[in-house]
C-alpha cells in the first residue's frame, strides 16, 4: 500500500497493490457493499455443503471433527489476521482463548474444588470474558510491538508460557492444576447447545462471522492502514499514522476473535485446565495457521481441519506414539517448501494450470 490517500489514520484510502505481499485487496470502493459483491458461486456451494453436513455426517464427525475444526480455525484465524495483515506472529493466541475460557468458568457456572465461581448468567459472563481477553490481548500487543517485529514471536511465547505457570500455581482464584469442570453452553430456546448439531451450527455461525469480519476489516481503512504498516511502517509513520496504536488495536481485534474461539472451546471441552494453555497448545495454533496458509482467512480453517483429522485418525494410520514426529515433519516440510501452506500449494497448482501466479507469502518476506 504505497499510496497514502490521507494523513489521518481513519481517513478514506485508495490503494494499489504495488507491494508484493500477503493478502492485499485489489480495489475497494466501499467496504460494506463489497461484501455482497464478492459472493461467488463457490461461496454458495460451500455454504450449502456446510449447512447440509450435520444431517449426513455422524454425530462424531459433526461434533469432534467439524465443530472442533471450526473453533480451532477461529482461534488460528486470529493469528492469521495478525500475521497476514499485520505482519506480527503471536504465539499467545491460545493464551487469549484460554483467558476467555477461564473467565467463562469463573464468572459463569462451573464446578471446581478450590477456585472462584461467581455463577453469573451467561449473557453477563460471556461478554465479560470477551472484553477481558481483548484487554489482555491489547496489553500483550502493547508490550510486544514496541520493539523490532521478530521480537513479537519471542515475547508472546514468553508471556504465554508465564501465564500457563500462573494458572498452574494459583489455586485461590484459578483453581490450579485441576481447573474448572462442568462448563456448558446455556440452554436457550429449549435447545441443548452442547449436543452435536446445535453446537455445530453455533460454531458455524460464529466462524462465518469471524471470517466475514476479517475480510471486512481487511478492506476497511483500518485494515488497509495495517497492511500499509506491515509493508512499510516508516512510510506510514511519515504519513501521520500512529503505527503503535494500529498494531495494538490489531492485537485487540485478533484477541476478540481468539476469545470467541476460546468460549466455544471451553463449551466444547466442558472444562478448562492449565493444560489447555500449555506450550504445545500455543504452538499447535501456529502449526494450524501455517499448514493452512496465512494468505487468506480460509487458510486457518483448512489447517484446523487437517490438524483435527490427523489428531483423531493418526492412530489408525501410523504409530500414535510418534504423532508429534508426524505433525512436526509435516510442519517443517510446509515451512521449507510451501511457505503459503496448503493455500500456496493450491495456488501453485492453479498457476501451473495457467490461471495466474501465486503471490508470495507473509512468511517468506523479511519478517514479522
Amino acid at each position: 500500500m504505497n499510496t497514502g490517500a490521507g494523513a489521518q489514520a481513519w481517513g478514506p484510502m485508495r490503494s494499489s497493490p504495488s507491494v508484493p505481499g500477503a493478502p492485499s485487496q485489489v480495489s475497494v470502493p466501499s467496504p460494506a457493499g463489497s461484501a455482497l459483491a464478492h459472493i461467488r458461486a463457490r461461496h454458495v456451494i460451500v455454504l450449502a455443503a456446510l449447512l447440509i453436513y450435520p444431517f449426513v455426517a455422524t454425530p462424531f464427525f459433526t461434533f469432534q471433527i467439524a465443530a472442533q475444526s471450526m473453533l480451532l480455525g477461529l482461534i488460528a484465524l486470529s493469528l492469521m489476521f495478525l500475521a497476514g495483515y499485520g505482519g506480527m506472529v503471536s504465539l499467545s493466541q491460545m493464551t487469549i482463548a484460554g483467558i476467555a475460557g477461564y473467565a467463562v468458568a469463573i464468572f459463569g457456572v462451573s464446578a471446581t474444588p478450590e477456585g472462584v465461581v461467581l455463577g453469573w448468567p451467561w449473557w453477563l459472563a460471556v461478554p465479560i470474558a470477551i472484553v477481558a481477553s481483548m484487554l489482555v490481548a491489547a496489553l500483550i500487543g502493547w508490550l510486544s510491538v514496541r520493539t523490532d517485529g521478530i521480537y513479537t514471536i519471542m515475547i508472546t511465547l514468553a508471556v504465554g508460557v508465564a501465564l500457563y505457570y500462573l494458572a498452574l500455581q494459583n489455586y485461590s482464584v484459578l483453581a490450579g492444576f485441576q481447573g474448572f469442570q462442568k462448563i456448558a453452553p446455556p440452554r436457550l430456546f429449549g435447545i441443548d447447545w452442547r449436543s452435536p448439531t446445535p453446537f455445530y451450527f453455533l460454531t458455524l455461525a460464529l466462524a462465518l462471522a469471524g471470517y466475514w469480519a476479517v475480510k471486512y476489516v481487511a478492506r476497511a481503512p483500518f485494515g488497509l492502514a495495517l497492511q500499509g504498516i506491515r509493508d512499510n511502517a516508516r512510510r506510514m509513520e511519515a504519513l501521520g499514522f500512529d503505527v503503535t496504536a494500529h498494531r495494538v488495536a490489531a492485537h485487540a481485534l485478533a484477541g476478540g476473535l481468539a476469545a470467541v474461539g476460546g468460549v466455544l472451546l471451553v463449551w466444547y471441552n466442558g472444562l478448562i485446565t492449565p493444560a489447555s494453555i500449555a506450550t504445545n497448545n500455543l504452538i499447535n495454533i501456529l502449526i494450524i495457521a501455517v499448514i493452512g496458509g496465512m494468505r487468506h482467512p480460509i487458510g486457518p480453517f483448512l489447517g484446523a481441519l487437517v490438524f483435527v483429522l490427523l489428531q483423531n485418525f493418526a492412530i489408525d494410520l501410523v504409530n500414535r506414539e510418534r504423532f508429534n514426529l508426524v505433525i512436526g515433519t509435516g510442519f517443517l516440510l510446509i515451512v521449507l517448501f510451501s511457505p503459503d501452506g496448503l493455500l500456496g500449494l493450491w495456488s501453485r497448482l492453479r498457476a501451473r494450470l495457467g490461471s495466474g501466479a501465486g503471490k508470495p507469502s507473509p512468511v517468506r518476506r523479511g519478517g514479522a
Binding site: 461434533f63 469432534q64 505457570y165 492444576f177 469442570q181 462442568k182 504445545n280 494410520l317 506414539e321
Partner: protein, 416 residues
C-alpha cells in the same frame, strides 16, 4: 500403532480359533473394548507399560471373555484432560466400543468421569488414574475404579513411620493434586496417632532446582517426607546429598519406584532403608504376584524387569472388565445393566490380593508399606514391610473423621 494392533488382533483371532473350534457361531460375535493410555509426551513410557498390563489380562485368557472374542482398540492421549475426552469420544462414537478401560492420570480421570455421564449405555473402567475426587465427588453410575487412588496408596505408612521413631517430619513435594492426595493419605493416620508435620515445602511444577527448597528444610526433624516423582525425585536426591543432607526419608508412591531407584546414573546408598507405600511391591512373595510377574516377563521381553505401577493398575482394571464379562456370559444388553451389576458385586482376585468396590464404585483393596533394600546383585528394590488389607477411600478412618478432614489440599490436613 496399527501394526501392533493388527498383530495383536491376529493373535487374538488365532487364539480364539484354536480354543473354540466348533463354537465358531458364538465366537463370531466380538466385544470391543477401548483402552486409553498416554502414549505421547512425558508419560509415554508409563502409558506403554499400562497398555502391556491391559493386553496381558486379555492374553491370559486367549482373547476371550464371556464366551466371546474380545477386540482391543487402543487410544492415546498426552495426559491433558481434553485430549483424553476426545480419545474416549472417538472410541465410543467412531470405533463403537462397548467398554472403555482408561485413562492413566488424575486430571484425565475426572474429565473422563464427567464425560461418562453423557454416554450412559457405555461402561468406563479406570486405567490407572488416582485422583480422589473422581469417585468421591459427584460419582458417575457408569464409571468404575478397581485400583486404589493416590491417598489410599499411602495408608499404613504413617503408622510405620511412628514405629521407627519419626515423630516430627517436614514435607517436600510437587505442588499439585496428586501429591495433595498422597500427603493426606500419609497424614490421616500419622496426625491421628500423634505425629507432627512441622513444615510443608511445596515446589511449583516445572521447577527443577531444589537447592533452595532444601535450604528451607528445618533442622529439628526426625525424617523427611518426599513426595516427588521421576526427574524431580532424582534431582532432589542428588542435590540433597550434595548439600550434605542426612535425614532419613519417607517416600511417596512414585518417589522410590523402579525408574527412580535404577535411573541411568549413579546409585544412591543413602536411599537404603527409605520407607514408602503403594499398591504393589516388587518383592511381594505371594504366589499370585509371582505368577503375574512371570507372565508379564514372558509376554513382554521388551518391558520393564518387573511390571510397574501402571501395568499393575491397567491389568487389574482390565481383568475386572473381563471377569465381569465372564460373569454375565458376555451379555451387555439392557444398557449394560447386568454387566454393571456384575462389576459392582465382583470379588476381584488380583495379583496383589482381593479387591471389592464401595458404593461409589471405588476399589477397596490391599496396600503395601515397603522399604528400599539392596539385592545381592547390587540393584535396589522395595522389600515388603507390611501389608494393609481392605483400604477404603476414607483411608480406614471413620466416616465422621474423614468428613471433617475433607479432600486433601495444600493446607489440608495440617498438624504442625
Amino acid at each position: 500403532m496399527k501394526s501392533n494392533r493388527r498383530s495383536f488382533v491376529r493373535t487374538a483371532i488365532a487364539a480364539a480359533v484354536l480354543s473354540s473350534l466348533g463354537l465358531a457361531a458364538q465366537a463370531q460375535e466380538t466385544i470391543k473394548i477401548g483402552v486409553l493410555a498416554t502414549l505421547e509426551g512425558p508419560f509415554a513410557a508409563g502409558g506403554a507399560d499400562g497398555m502391556r498390563g491391559a493386553e496381558l489380562a486379555l492374553r491370559e485368557r486367549n482373547g476371550m471373555a464371556g464366551g466371546k472374542k474380545v477386540e482391543l482398540v487402543k487410544a492415546s492421549s498426552n495426559a491433558q484432560p481434553p485430549v483424553a475426552v476426545a480419545a474416549v469420544r472417538k472410541l465410543v462414537e467412531q470405533d463403537k466400543v462397548q467398554i472403555v478401560v482408561g485413562p492413566l492420570s488424575g486430571g484425565e480421570g475426572i474429565a473422563v468421569k464427567d464425560y461418562s455421564k453423557t454416554v450412559p449405555n457405555i461402561t468406563i473402567i479406570n486405567g490407572s488414574s488416582g485422583a480422589q475426587a473422581t469417585t468421591l465427588v459427584d460419582p458417575s453410575p457408569n464409571f468404575f475404579r478397581f485400583n486404589n487412588e493416590g491417598a489410599q496408596w499411602m495408608v499404613g505408612l504413617g503408622e510405620e513411620a511412628l514405629k521407627r521413631g519419626y515423630k516430627k517430619v517436614a514435607l517436600i513435594s510437587e505442588d499439585y493434586s496428586f501429591p495433595y492426595s498422597q500427603v493426606q493419605g500419609f497424614m490421616g493416620q500419622y496426625c491421628k496417632l500423634g505425629g507432627k508435620v512441622v513444615e510443608k515445602i511445596w515446589v511449583p511444577l516445572g521447577h527443577k532446582d531444589f537447592s533452595t527448597a532444601i535450604a528451607r528444610i528445618p533442622a529439628d526433624i526426625d525424617a523427611l517426607l518426599v513426595v516427588l516423582g521421576g526427574a524431580d525425585a532424582v534431582n532432589f536426591l542428588t542435590q540433597y546429598e550434595q548439600a550434605g543432607g542426612n535425614k532419613p526419608m519417607i517416600g511417596g508412591s512414585i518417589t522410590v519406584s523402579q525408574d527412580v531407584l535404577n535411573y541411568k546414573g549413579k546409585r544412591r546408598e543413602a536411599l537404603l532403608g527409605t520407607l514408602s507405600a503403594g499398591p504393589n511391591a516388587d518383592a511381594y512373595d505371594a504366589p499370585e504376584w509371582k505368577a503375574f510377574v512371570a507372565s508379564y516377563k514372558k509376554n513382554f521381553p521388551d518391558g520393564y524387569p518387573s511390571p510397574g505401577l501402571f501395568a499393575v493398575n491397567y491389568y487389574i482394571n482390565m481383568k475386572a472388565a473381563l471377569d465381569a464379562l465372564d460373569a454375565v456370559k458376555g451379555d451387555l444388553s439392557d444398557n449394560q445393566s447386568k454387566y454393571r451389576a456384575a462389576l459392582t458385586k465382583l470379588q476381584l482376585k488380583g495379583p496383589t490380593g482381593t479387591i471389592t468396590l464401595d458404593h461409589n464404585r471405588q476399589a477397596i483393596g490391599p496396600n503395601f508399606v515397603t522399604e528400599v533394600a539392596k539385592a545381592p546383585d547390587g540393584s535396589f528394590y522395595n522389600k515388603v514391610v507390611s501389608r494393609v488389607e481392605k483400604v477404603d477411600q476414607r483411608l480406614n478412618l471413620s466416616q465422621a473423621e474423614f468428613d471433617k478432614m475433607g479432600i486433601g489440599t495444600r493446607d489440608n490436613p495440617a498438624c504442625p
